[in-house]
């Protein structure tokens, strides 16, 4: 985790919409869409990686955005 890191949907197609990522996110960045997780408000993301580490489906990845 570093400043400026943000969550991305690295493998959106693998999402099974279990909701764990939404649950572990401390700042409500994510929401459940019709079929899969979606990013609701990326500006709130603090790059904590909770979602990436908890996701059972390897969907989410926190990456540097200010390269």
């Amino acid at each position: 985790m570093a400043k400026g890191d943000k969550v991305t949907l690295a493998n959106s197609g693998w999402c099974k919409r279990c909701g764990i990522c939404v649950h572990v996110c401390p700042t409500d960045v994510l929401k459940l869409g019709q079929d899969r997780v979606e990013i609701d408000d990326i500006d709130k993301c603090i790059g904590c990686e909770n979602c990436e580490l908890s996701c059972p489906d390897f969907v989410l990845k926190v990456v540097k955005v200010n390269e």
């Binding site: 570093a2 890191d5 493998n11 197609g13 693998w14 099974k16 919409r17 279990c18 909701g19 764990i20 649950h23 572990v24 580490l53 908890s54 996701c55 059972p56 489906d57 390897f58 990845k61 926190v62 990456v63 540097k64």
Partner: protein, 275 residues
């Protein structure tokens, strides 16, 4: 620093077969991060499993991987390791696979203190076959084969493996993946039999049927029913009921007592005779 976990995954086999919200994927997620934090050579790493939902785990991991018969993963792994002690051998097993049909191999693996890392996915139920009770299903819980409540007592696998001679014993939980990664890393680096029970959720066959709820409610349940091992030790007995200690529970560093090292001493004694 971002970790590339995908290089340890067989991406073409994903998405995996596990149900939505199953914790097995989180265990894999933590495992590959742990492997990344060690200096283990992926080419020298073998992952072995038995049967059940956990049995499918090695298929998603990019190492030499072996999906064996029900309960026997540790026995196969013992052969792989003893025949070539240079290999890092990881066993992924479930509570049914590892503590029921494979329970004998588990305790004897511990007794030999052979250098395997065994991660037991404890979702407290037989998932693959549709929700029958396992040796880890709590007394009173409902399963398809305990429709009136389970009358069996469940194992404390941490106590069992410690008593049987494992030299690294820990318990993690899928609600805390950072700790899981840390425990797996320590287990992988430990020279000797490492056993890491991981509390895991089966929303489909356990959580919903026992009024705990779906995946997120089950993670909350874990949080409420676990404490750090250091705190557990100081707790009065009456408060321990139904609460699981998490963290490293037992550790004994004695590489010379490891099985393959002991066998090598026998081989070396003959080599000396020849000199």
């Amino acid at each position: 620093m971002a970790v590339d976990i995908y290089k340890y995954l067989r991406e073409d086999k994903l998405p995996h077969i596990w149900c939505p919200g199953c914790g097995h994927g989180t265990i894999l997620n933590s495992l590959v991060r742990a492997i990344d934090q060690t200096d283990i050579d992926p080419d020298k790493t073998v992952v072995v499993s038995g049967i059940g939902c956990s049995g499918r785990a090695p298929g998603y991991l990019k190492f030499d991987t072996l999906h064996t018969t029900h309960g026997r993963a540790i026995a196969f792994a013992t052969g792989i390791k003893l025949a070539n002690p240079e290999l890092n051998v990881i066993v992924l097993t479930g509570d049914g696979d590892g503590s029921a049909i494979g329970g004998n191999h588990l305790i004897h693996g511990c007794r030999r203190n052979i250098d395997l890392t065994v991660i037991l996915f404890n979702n407290q139920i037989y998932g693959m076959t549709g929700g029958q009770y396992s040796p880890m299903t709590p007394t009173g819980a409902v399963a398809t084969t305990s429709p009136y409540g389970n009358i069996d007592q469940d194992f404390d696998l941490v106590d069992l493996t410690r008593s049987a001679g494992a030299t690294f014993v820990a318990r993690g939980a899928t609600y805390n993946p950072r700790q899981m990664t840390k425990l797996y890393k320590e287990g992988l680096e430990h020279k000797g039999f490492s056993f890491i029970e991981t509390l895991d959720q089966c929303p489909v066959n356990y959580g919903r049927k026992n009024n705990i709820g779906g995946p997120t409610e089950m993670l909350d349940w874990q949080k409420e029913h676990t404490v750090p091992a250091s705190k557990w030790e100081k707790m009065p007995e009456e408060e321990k009921e139904g609460i699981f200690p998490l963290g490293v529970i037992h550790r004994k560093d004695d590489p010379e007592s490891e099985y393959t090292a002991r066998y090598q001493q026998i081989i070396d004694s003959f080599a000396k005779e020849d000199e």
